[in-house]
Symmetry: D2
């Protein structure tokens, strides 16, 4: 196959960490040709000026989004900050298939969106057409979609662990406690004192307690399966590491053998999924086992309190939690093998 | 005051991290003269051979515990591994005041001890006399004790946050979820593959799920206050950092204004405590704010689920969680100012 | 192409970090089928028991080296500790092409070997046939070799930076100071106190001062080009990170425009090399730009002392410094495209 | 002694890391009462708002420098950024003893200053009166000084290792190569992309190659002792850790037994110095052995090239490299015991 038959891809917002990780994967994806990279604040610069590690790939220079001739592009990944994607995507030509990595089109309820993001949605029509890009659960819709809203990193890890337990009635949907831990790349490349090395290294702390925007996203999907409005207890913590996130979910079983039932539900649901691994009985998911990969590793443990279980779910926030899942969806949207370009194994150590 | 009037102190098990941190503090404590350091596996070596950073203090060489002439010593800190302290301490002369940093004398119930530590207690008489060294709660008993069993690091952080809420009836004692995160020094200096830098750095994972020995210790004290047998949900995680631990405790309030009531209970209880700080409303406890210090910092947050609260408690596992609290108890046992030698401020960054 | 046409590969010593990184790359190499994994101390275990992150690849269980039926294998990578490869490789059937990642066959002079490794070489015949696997310099010999001795990680980084300057006479070969810094994976997975997280994190120190075994290896190649016996000043340092090494080389120019001449020599030499990048004038090589990749990035800077220059060379010690270069050599030995399976871009951040 | 008899101290520029570390030490110094803390950008805030770990000390709120009534203060520490101290200090009342931690008054030659800092010195009169605060070498002058210019962190580590070798003629002053490695706190708390956690963690790189402002400072003192103008080769590197710096200095001996002579010169020079430790023969200085302390640890090693030696010098850049040395000078200026308030031992691990 020559370059001419590849799918031509543009990346909007290429200067963030999400953009960089997408380029890392897309640049060696066998069916992708990167034709445009945009980063308004860096327009005119080479990619290597912003990301030296990507300097030798021979990719296009960074330009302004408005300056791209989209007629030469088939698909667009949009890695802009939350709140800014909706207007940019609205303005794109309709022939483009769009995979959005921001939060703009994740929430189905415009009221909920307004409540959490502080403004009315600026592209409600588009929002109603967007498909929620949790690949393992919306595969058919994604394959037909023109706009896919990739889930947040925390919701991906949470939902992959929770949904089979909810749909099979193994757990009580009203008593879900999610303690989440994430590496610093989750905060992006924005320059804030709180993200300086010396503020983060050798220490941990919670943030966004009871107020993190991923809570309503988790609740949206949990409520849908549970058939009732559910609030979840969700508290993220910042870890002194670059990549990876791990969720420890404290759950109350509905029946007597919650652990066995939960294990059965998880194993059955994900038996044929290439990217979700229920690890062996007693094996402990760890972020380092998924570093740099598109895998999510999950396990369930009996709690010492009878009837309760603990589900641990881990993924790389920049890959399965962002760019990798975006590529997985891209593969589906273009009829490619779902795993194409996502075969990387974990970089451990 | 001359050296002659100082209290003569021996440290048993000086080659572990707990021992090293005790020496760090004791060596500059104005009322302590270190007269003996034991480490059976390193007997005959200088302290600097084991801990180069302590080489210039002019302290005694390491010897075998059996070789010490205890007649020249007033007090002993015992930093041996769990299960080995009980016999060593039993064999010490009775004039010595003993502060034990192991788990051997923490559990009041010998049956519980046997269940969690896999053998019958070898000094049950001594166990019944030991005082649980959670300073802020057993101050009077500690002052009169001959043997103090310093709490584990996790129980210290957990109990300082929980006890005022239990004693004031603010929370439901039957629904306590404790997600704990700790730096690697908590695992001690023992040489295991799991603690190698390359196994730990840039990653996190839970361990001892539903089976950590600090659970029964927390439950012992919680049950005592609650007036009923309580099981708690306790799951620790290993963090890629040296020191510090942070507990995020998910609790169900008993009444309607749980957050306000909890804050009031905590502030009132610790108003005059030198080492427990309830930080300002909305301020987030972080391990880096207590690094190297004997402080515990606590705060309470309303959860988004009505009626639930989140209590965050943090301390340095080697100081307030171990050597520092041991020194605090030592000060009490010898009638010294409780804060003596513990005034260090956090090493941040 | 079906599996049947792939090259059948065995990995001896699969339980070390070098083995794990080789598996990471080989498992997704389009022309490799892994047929045997040996690890004597772990024989009978699944690969996932030793490396959970590789558990889902469906690879063979670990066995003893002596138990492998090598008739079903075409090539062997040997990742055993130094000093143990020579006997194992001697005993392998002659149809196997062998790529050795240990130091056993790197030194051409058996006297030098004995001096640095403390024993006479046990396979001197084989040693004389081995080709030094610095791919960019011994490409033709490697393509024809039956046994390739892959260079050490430090020598690879040093020689890629130095050789063009020596062969073009730009620098004085008698005044070479190499200050090297490496991540902890360079020490392997062996369980030593010195490699514990808490001994390494948040600190740096030199090691093997004036006595590191990579010095004679660097000198062997430098002397060959310089046409005289050369001693180099080589001092490695341990860094609190997993992967990556960076060498800062302080050199005395032979002529007046050493920096410009050096830059010219480097750029010309590596213009067509896929894995050695001379970065842009003024750009600073950094380990994070090569993390997880087979690239070496090099640059040269004028020193403020007239006539002196500073050459900085960086690579991932487990990839270009070990497993990646081994695969690069494998590709050559089997007539494959040299870059096959080595296209991964840096995992940054 | 009551508070009334303590020395009243102000800290200008209290919001930087240097300021924070000074407060950490000064707040528990037995002869210091902190009476003023200035930070123009944070005026009106509590200290705890900027540094939560210092919130419980009961210290004054942050104010603008111009708003302080200096009549109630005896001494001032000035931790402002380079280039801004000179005007602020010029404007202070003359009764104040001033310890400056910036670079403004370190260079004796105003031409050199202008060349490296890009502007003429704005307080040349004051500059000529300032004493260079390398305590171990200018003790008598410091005791009598009104203005002490504390050395940079790198010059402190370099000069403590080099000066005895130069003054005793052990090394050739014209062939000094200094490879320096520093933790990230050396960059201060300024908010730059390059200092974000994700840009720094798990990686290393050199910076300021041949252009770092500490080079002329080292050269000033080296030249003075050597009796000739000397240029040194000085290249710093950024390490993924908070605190600590280590200099590996590659030197050419003047005589035949350079290592033995160097060891003798160092041991004799520092025998009675409380804060400079020449560690045991063969012992390796490591940053972790000085973390949080005012110690500098030095050792010398024979190189494998005959006649050459390697001197390794390490200190905590924020303590002996900044705030600690400042306090050491303060003690001298006020006739106090030089070690007062500086007895902290290393926080290891």
């Amino acid at each position: 196959m020559t370059d001419g038959s590849k799918i031509r891809v543009g990346i909007i917002g290429a200067s963030g960490y999400t953009g960089a990780d997408l380029i890392r994967l897309a640049a060696v994806h066998p069916q992708i040709k990167i034709t445009a990279l945009t980063a308004n604040a860096h327009a005119g610069q080479s990619l290597g000026a912003v990301y030296p590690h990507l300097s030798a790939l021979g990719l296009p220079d960074l330009v302004k989004t408005d300056d791209v001739d989209w007629s030469q592009t088939d698909a667009v990944f949009c890695g802009l900050p939350h709140g800014t994607s909706q207007e940019v995507i609205s303005a794109l030509p309709s022939h483009l298939k769009v995979i959005d990595l921001s939060a703009d089109f994740r929430l189905r309820n415009t009221k909920t969106y307004a409540e959490w993001y502080g403004h009315s949605h600026r592209a409600p029509d588009l929002q109603s057409k967007a498909v929620y890009g949790l690949t393992e659960y919306y595969r058919d819709d994604i394959a037909k979609a023109d706009l896919v809203a990739c889930p947040g990193c925390y919701p991906t890890a949470a939902l992959l662990g929770l949904l089979p337990l909810l749909s099979s009635g193994v757990i009580d949907p009203t008593d879900i406690v999610i303690d989440a831990k994430s590496g610093v790349t989750g905060a992006g490349r924005s320059v804030k004192q709180a993200n300086l090395f010396s503020e983060v290294a050798e220490g941990i702390h919670p943030y966004g307690i009871a107020a993190h925007r991923h809570a309503p996203e988790i609740e949206q999907e949990v409520s849908k399966i549970a058939g009732q409005d559910v609030l979840v207890n969700f508290t993220p913590h910042l870890m002194p590491m670059n990549r990876g996130e791990l969720l420890t979910m404290y759950l109350r079983g509905a029946g007597k053998n919650a652990e066995a039932e939960a294990r059965k539900a998880l194993v059955e649901r994900y038996r044929d999924e290439p990217f979700v691994h229920i690890v062996g009985d007693g094996d402990v998911p760890a972020t380092r086992h998924v570093r740099g990969t598109n895998y999510c590793r999950v396990n369930v443990f009996a709690d010492r309190i009878p009837g309760r279980i603990i589900v641990v779910s881990t993924l790389d926030n920049l890959v399965k939690g962002s760019s990798g899942q975006a590529l997985q969806n891209f593969n589906l949207m273009f009829g490619l093998t779902e795993t194409l370009g996502l075969e990387q194994q974990a970089l451990f150590p």
